[in-house]
């Protein structure tokens, strides 16, 4: 009975995850001439369009030396976060089944 319930959650979550993936992939297929660049440059354009005399008064203390390094750091950030989320649910699941078997 219990495993059936968990199967249901798994199925529901898989369907939901597929929707998320579809939402991310659809723009790639639908937008033909998209550059999919980092938004920052375009933001600067929009601001200078409104106020052409504006000069940024501060620059980042440290900038990743290349796009590769930047993507390394971003993926590291995502990996650390995802790693901990996985750890949490492993811990929660283990704790739950341990307390179940204690009761029996």
């Amino acid at each position: 009975m219990k495993s059936k319930k968990n199967d249901k959650i798994l199925k529901k979550n898989l369907v939901l995850a597929l929707i998320v993936i579809a939402l991310a992939v659809a723009p790639l297929l639908l937008v033909k001439n998209g550059k999919f660049g980092g938004a920052d440059d375009k933001a600067k354009q929009a601001i200078t369009q409104i106020d052409s005399s504006y000069k940024p008064w501060f620059t980042p203390i440290w900038t990743p030396p290349s796009g590769e390094i930047a993507s390394l750091l971003f993926s590291l950030q995502a990996a650390i976060g995802a790693g901990f989320i996985g750890y949490y649910f492993g811990y929660a699941k283990g704790k739950k089944s341990a307390s179940k078997s204690d009761k029996i």
Partner: protein, 246 residues
Amino acid sequence: MKKKYQVALGVFMALIFMPKNAFAMHIMEGFLPPVWCISWGAISLPFIILGMFSIKKKIELNPRIKMLMAMAGAFTFSLSALKIPSVTGSCSHPTGIGLGAILFGPTVMCVIGLIVLIFQALLLAHGGLTTLGANTFSMAVVGGLVAYFSYKLLKKMKLSQSISIFIAAALGDIMTYVATSLQLALAFPDKTGGFMASLMKFMGIFAVTQIPLAISEGILTVIIFNLLTAYSKDELIDLKVLSEEA
């Protein structure tokens, strides 16, 4: 079925309003005049202090939610690193603030959001130290408050748990970027059209890019919540997110 229609609607609307210049991320370093940097910092500060007290109190009351809080932080950390393509032909990222705000109340995520923003400003040159106050306000303060209160309201309207969470998290995400457009419009009013013209311009850009991402964030938050309901029910009951019998 309903969700599919919402997705289709979002994509459809985004295609209609597709702007040429699209961007949607945190305000870049140096791109907000000093007076605004200081003002937004000052407005955010009380929320951060409240958040610190709130974290301390919640953990004292209930030491076992510490892990759950760290997980909510990890969710934000992870999601704000994922730059996802959007229908406007540029990329933006979700914020992940909604989950923690729904679980722990609106101010706890101010602190967690601030930590994530500092990390990105220092190591990734994304966002910025001078714009930290403004970005904390839009992402952590506005996003958290909107997600928390819309969740409460939707639950009062007797909507199901999943739908309430989906809408609350998605709204929190989109309102973050509405707040960012407001901040930019206040700092850069249009020469001829003034504040409103700038606001419409930034809003058109921001809101549209963020629509599919807000939907994604809503769905991802529901996924995590389904797992929490399955494996961490006791913590959810402690936090009064779930009632005993549910």
